[in-house]
């Protein structure tokens, strides 16, 4: 009986657990807390944190690959959709079906703000290089600054899958923290006069323009930067479903059943890559720090370019909308609104900030294409 008891305890996970795994279980519980109680991007952070929790329960075999004639674990199979680059573009399909590009079509110049905010990708890329990361890791770290979950996961899964855990967690956490990260930078870089600028009302956008836009963007980006096609093409196909008026069925499924299912699968799989041995090393610390640096650079890039547009247009552009160029749709646009309304509660910047905001999604996808084509 004694022998049996010791044998029984041996089959439990308690004995096999390492300190690292215990620590990771604590981290995943904290992430769950932040996702649920504090509302940090819960749709992604809850599955990611739960995947992390499952992957760090010792001996469950839930992430094991198939071996001999034993089948693999559940998350091993779910993870294939990340590894093969299937989930992120299909999630982009749903995001496209949920995105309204009209503010961008109405004010094309806001694309420049979406471009400028991509400094949040390339400056940390350089920084990571001088901290000793190899180029592929640098690309994966830089893409955090794109402030776009699926893009970050897509690029990392192709360049440096080992880093998926920390990069996804950093990306989604900082997206949730955008209301904390951006305001001080925005205030530091702008004058009160600039923050008080009121912008002209946007023109109306016709249905035909909304339909042509995704086709045209796919053609343009597809020809300029072939490596961006999976992301941009999917985003635009989803948007086309949304705008045609005759494919509502497809748009509806893309933005509900399909994106929700894949979000669960993606979140759990990505979270599961954050096993103790992979996650708990000094690199992760650096990645988390660089991720925050990336968001700050992106914000600064957008705001500074916003100031340039302020000067060029003779004060018609409020530089606060520049920070929305980091994407993190729609949180970053709301931050522009909040910061602007602190100076003047009757100034509504939200719609003007949506232009750079969605431009940032396209900008990051283009930057992702550059990184993939150059580093792969």
């Amino acid at each position: 009986m004694e022998q049996f008891l010791s044998q029984f305890i041996g089959t439990t996970g308690f004995i096999a657990m390492t300190w690292g795994q215990l620590l990771m279980l604590v981290v995943s519980c904290v992430l769950l807390y932040l996702g649920i109680a504090r509302g940090f991007e819960p749709l992604l952070l809850v599955p990611i944190a739960f995947g992390m929790l499952l992957a760090n329960l010792p001996m469950s075999g839930i992430t094991d690959p198939p071996k001999d004639n034993l089948v693999g674990g559940l998350i091993y199979y779910l993870y294939q959709g990340v590894k093969l680059g299937i989930y992120p573009p299909l999630i982009f399909l749903g995001i496209g079906a949920m995105t309204d590009f009209a503010p961008l079509i109405a004010n094309p110049w806001s694309l420049l703000l979406g471009a400028a905010a991509q400094l949040g990708i390339f400056i940390p890329f350089i920084a990571a290089y001088y901290l000793g990361f190899d180029l592929k890791s640098c690309g994966s770290i830089g893409i955090i600054g794109g402030a776009d979950g699926p893009t970050a996961i897509f690029v990392t899964s192709r360049l440096k899958p080992e880093l998926l855990g920390p990069i996804a967690i950093a990306a989604y956490s900082y997206m949730a923290l955008v209301p904390l990260i951006q305001p001080p930078i925005m205030k530091a870089l702008t004058t009160k006069k600039e923050r008080l600028v009121r912008m002209a009302q946007l023109r109306e956008v016709s249905k035909a323009e909304r339909i042509i836009f995704p086709i045209f963007v796919t053609l343009l980006i597809g020809l300029l930067l072939p490596a961006a096609v999976p992301l941009v093409g999917s985003l635009m196909l989803g948007n086309l479903f949304r705008e045609t008026g005759v494919t509502e069925r497809l748009s509806d499924t893309a933005q509900h059943a399909l994106i929700n299912t894949l979000t669960i699968f993606l979140g759990v799989s990505v979270g599961s890559t954050a096993s103790a041995e992979r996650f708990l090393n000094p690199q992760t610390l650096e990645i988390i720090a660089l991720g925050l640096f990336a968001f700050s650079c992106g914000t600064a890039g957008g705001v500074i370019f916003g100031k340039i547009m302020y000067w060029v247009t003779g004060g018609k552009v409020n530089p606060l909308i520049g920070s929305a160029g980091v994407s993190a749709v729609p949180v970053a646009a709301r931050v522009s609104q909040v910061v602007g309304s602190k100076e003047d509660p009757t100034n509504f910047l939200l719609m003007h900030a949506m232009g750079p905001n969605v431009a940032g999604v396209i900008g990051s996808a283009v930057a992702a294409g550059v990184l993939l084509s150059v580093l792969n």
Binding site: L104, I105, P108, W109, L111, L112, G114, A115, Q118, L119, I121, F122, I123, F125, I126, Y129, L135, C138, R203, S206, A208, E209, I212, F213, F216, V217, L220, I221, L224, L225, A359, I362, G363, V366, A367, G369, V370, L371, V374, L375
Partner: protein
């Protein structure tokens, strides 16, 4: 490319170029669509009559909603596919395609009464 500064410059430039080209096109959108709208109005002129015909079958009118409302350009699909393929497989390329589409339009006529496949078959028999 292994120089990180080079990558940064290329990357930033590519993003700006791509998005700037997009701006150029988008700035042209309002004018482009103003023209398209005018054209649309013209081509839509003959429609009412056909709609009326459909309306007369009142009770199941809603069910027949998907019937095509204009037949003027409905042959364009076949014309374009035909033209495209012909263009590529024949010796004379590019220009032929576009010419042919233009050529096809006037032939159409009555829509419902002129079977499209007659022309197509003639082409394939060639």
């Amino acid at each position: 490319m292994t120089n990180p500064w080079m990558i940064m410059v290329v990357g930033t430039m590519t993003v700006f170029i791509a998005l700037f080209v997009m701006i150029l096109f988008l700035l042209g959108f309002p004018k482009l669509f103003a023209i398209l709208k005018r054209k649309e109005h013209e081509s839509l002129a003959p429609l009412p009559q056909i709609v009326e015909v459909t309306k007369r079958t009142a009770p199941s009118a809603s069910q027949i909603a998907s019937a095509p409302s204009s037949s003027l350009q409905d042959e364009s699909l076949i014309a374009v596919l035909t033209a495209a393929v012909a263009a590529a497989s024949g010796s004379s390329a590019g220009s032929f395609a576009i010419t042919n589409v233009q050529q096809a339009q006037p032939e159409v006529g009555g829509g419902f009464n002129t079977p499209v496949w007659g022309r197509i078959e003639r082409l394939s028999r060639k």
